[in-house]
């Protein structure tokens, strides 16, 4: 359909002036767009002033016609007013209060974005968009730019679906209302960045899940999402020490990863989840099942031709199973293999894997009353630990480092060498303090032993301090380990009783 171009409005006073001054020439009709009428009036005038027959008749016709045109001009101008009113957009009466609220929200959004508090920024931009929809009730530049802000915040918050939807809507509104080119560029760039981020995120997800690269974002998205959800849930269940649930969810994750890895169900993702599944089974004391899972895991590693770094985890767990079942010889062989693998992988350097391998073997020796061998292995682990990046940098596996120090210290404790144990416990606590503000079960164990040392040395106040810290840390980190909580409480009660007895004795025998 062809849309006629709008006519320029005619000025009312000029139309009336032309009727009065040049009406007999038809000027007012020409001015108001009635060209035929104007020409007819001009013709009547020309014929009327000439000496042609019927001149009088023409003039006689023109007179009443001009009188009639008073009414005609009035009607014509009135119609023009009505049509102008219909064409002119309705006057916008915006809710000023809502607009000022939007400004305040925008300021808070900018502050949140500057602080990289994207959760807050998303929440605020959602309100801004809702506000803009309410105020403008339709496509508007303000709404488009609010959607753009929301999209950018969502992108930073990794809520990619919402980011993309918002930016696409912003772009659509921009096109509809003819938004300035520079604003359109901003929206287009934000959308391009979001699409790129979605691609990167998808690639990272696949890498994290141990899936083969090269699948498009549309492939297996549902299964990948399901696998991530299952992984998150089994890890959360494990953290809650709900081992039965963790095992069940992990078994589901193994199944999902097999589906994702396609034919034969062989892939790194399967290996990763099998390792966790075996670990949960081990902790549930389902040793046979754990062993069969680990055997399968090692077989897949062989089939896929993965390097030794993949064998370290399952070999360790298998060794733990042997050690737990009293097959210390088999465990020792496996631990020695893991040491060899770790050393080979590190190419002679010190790494966390090497430290872990020595620590595990040392722990086995310590638990089988081979203290000298244990001490030797711990000493080797300590040499590697000292060669790692300084602990102050916070690099490496802080839990592993603290566990090694605590294990070694406990070996000294078992041999009544408190003077050797104490600095190791204190170093472990310093590591834990840096990595997690000392809020861990390892730190609880270190405080407990330091409390015992202080108690033995007669420093009851220091002992009480350590035992109280042990109790609090266990309450925070392992709230369902009632045995540990009861032990810590018993230590506190014993030391408190001893302190009360000392205070009572001091009152009974005042110093002279």
């Amino acid at each position: 359909m062809r849309i006629p171009p709008p006519r320029s409005p005619r000025r009312k006073p000029l139309a009336w002036l032309l009727l009065v001054v040049g009406g007999f020439l038809g000027a007012h009709r020409f001015y108001l767009g009635s060209y035929l009428g104007g020409a007819a009036q001009l013709l009547l005038l020309l014929v009327g002033v000439g000496s042609l027959p019927g001149a009088r008749f023409c003039l006689g016709l023109l007179g009443p016609w001009l009188l009639f045109d008073i009414y005609w001009v009035h009607v014509r101008l009135k119609r023009q007013d009505e049509s102008d009113a219909a064409r002119r957009p309705a006057a916008k009466t915006y809710d000023l209060e809502a607009l000022s609220h939007a400004d305040a929200l925008r300021e808070r959004f900018v502050a949140a974005a500057e602080m990289h508090d994207w959760a807050r920024a998303v929440a605020l931009s959602e309100q801004i968009v809702a506000n803009a929809r309410k105020v403008f009730k339709g496509p508007h530049q303000n709404l488009a730019m609010s959607l753009c802000m929301h999209g950018q915040a969502c992108c930073q918050f990794k809520a990619f679906d919402e980011a993309k939807a918002s930016l696409e809507e912003s772009l659509a509104i921009g096109r509809q209302i003819g938004m300035p080119a520079e604003d359109m560029d901003i929206v287009r760039k934000a959308l391009a960045m979001t699409v790129a981020a979605i691609g990167e995120h998808h690639a990272a997800r696949q890498l994290r899940a141990g899936l083969p690269a090269g699948r498009g974002p549309g492939d297996d998205t549902v299964l990948l999402g399901l696998l991530e959800d299952q992984e998150r849930r089994y890890k959360a269940a494990f953290e809650r020490r709900d081992l039965a649930l963790a095992e069940r969810l992990c078994a589901e994750a193994v199944h999902t990863s097999r589906q994702l890895c396609g034919e034969g169900g062989l892939g790194k993702a399967v290996v990763l989840h099998l390792i966790h599944h075996a670990e949960f089974c081990r902790q549930l004391q389902w040793h046979d099942k754990a062993v069969s899972l680990l055997d399968e895991c090692l077989a897949i590693i062989d089939q896929l031709g993965l390097d030794d770094s993949w064998r370290l985890g399952p070999s360790n767990t298998l060794a733990l199973l042997h050690a737990g079942a009293g097959r210390s010889d088999e465990a020792e062989v496996l631990y020695k293999k893991t040491i060899a693998m770790a050393v080979a992988l590190s190419k002679g350097n010190s790494t966390d894997e090497v430290v872990r391998a020595f620590n595990n073997l040392a722990f086995l020796y310590a638990n089988t009353d081979q203290d000298e061998k244990a001490e030797l292995c711990y000493a080797r682990a300590m040499v590697h630990l000292d060669k790692l990046a300084p602990e102050e940098t916070g690099e490496g596996d802080a839990d592993l480092h603290a566990d090694l120090l605590i294990n070694f210290a406990q070996l000294h404790m078992a041999r009544n060498e408190a003077e050797h144990a104490k600095p190791l416990f204190e170093r472990a606590l310093a590591i834990q303090e840096r990595s997690c503000r000392g809020i861990s079960t390892s730190a609880a164990a270190a405080h407990n032993d330091l409390g015992l040392i202080a108690q033995e040395q007669g420093d009851l106040r220091e002992a009480l301090k350590h035992f109280k810290r042990t109790l609090l840390l266990n309450q925070i980190c392992a709230p369902d380990h009632f045995g540990n909580l009861a032990n810590a409480q018993r230590n506190i009660d014993n030391v408190s009783l001893a302190l009360a007895a000392v205070a009572r004795a001091a009152r009974l025998e005042p110093s002279t």
Binding site: A119, E239, C436, R437, L472, P479
Partner: protein
């Protein structure tokens, strides 16, 4: 602007993360929905936080947490919550409120003391709410945070 306080109950295994990173407390309390592991329940005490703290010390018998965005923050582990709930169950709110309104001079230093002496009924409502809140949190073995802003 006045200062208000509220109790929040949440999964006991979430507490460790909050104690390690106190700056995350406000985000967790106010922007984490329950289905994403956010708080299970809350009980506001509004501007009566100081009065409630003085009359029901068991409810705040936990550990102070520094480094949050709050004016004051105290956390209670699941063990603390169980103990607090047992002690709170033995307290009589009408008696406490009667003592608070009957001896105004003794509590004059508390924040908005006069206001709550005039609005004892609302105060009693808050305190009963706190008792109920702790009983429910203890049944779930939740941890609790008392947050003053």
């Amino acid at each position: 602007m006045s200062i208000g306080g509220a109790f929040y109950a949440f999964d006991r295994y979430r507490l460790r993360g909050l104690v390690i990173d106190p700056s995350s407390v406000s985000g967790f309390l106010f922007h984490t929905p329950e289905d994403k592991g956010g708080p299970h329940a809350s009980q506001t005490v509004e501007q009566a936080w100081d009065v409630v703290r003085a009359l029901l010390p068991e409810a705040v018998d936990g550990e102070a947490l520094e480094g949050t965005e709050a004016l004051g923050c105290i956390y209670l582990t699941a063990s603390h919550v169980e103990r607090a709930a047992a002690r709170l169950a033995r307290r009589s709110v009408p008696e406490l409120v009667a003592r608070f309104t009957g001896e105004p001079a003794q509590f004059a230093e508390l924040y908005w003391a006069k206001t709550w002496q005039g609005g004892a009924e609302e105060l009693a409502g808050f305190m009963e709410g706190v008792k109920r809140f702790f009983a429910e949190a203890a049944a779930r073995r939740d941890a609790v945070v008392f947050y003053i802003v």
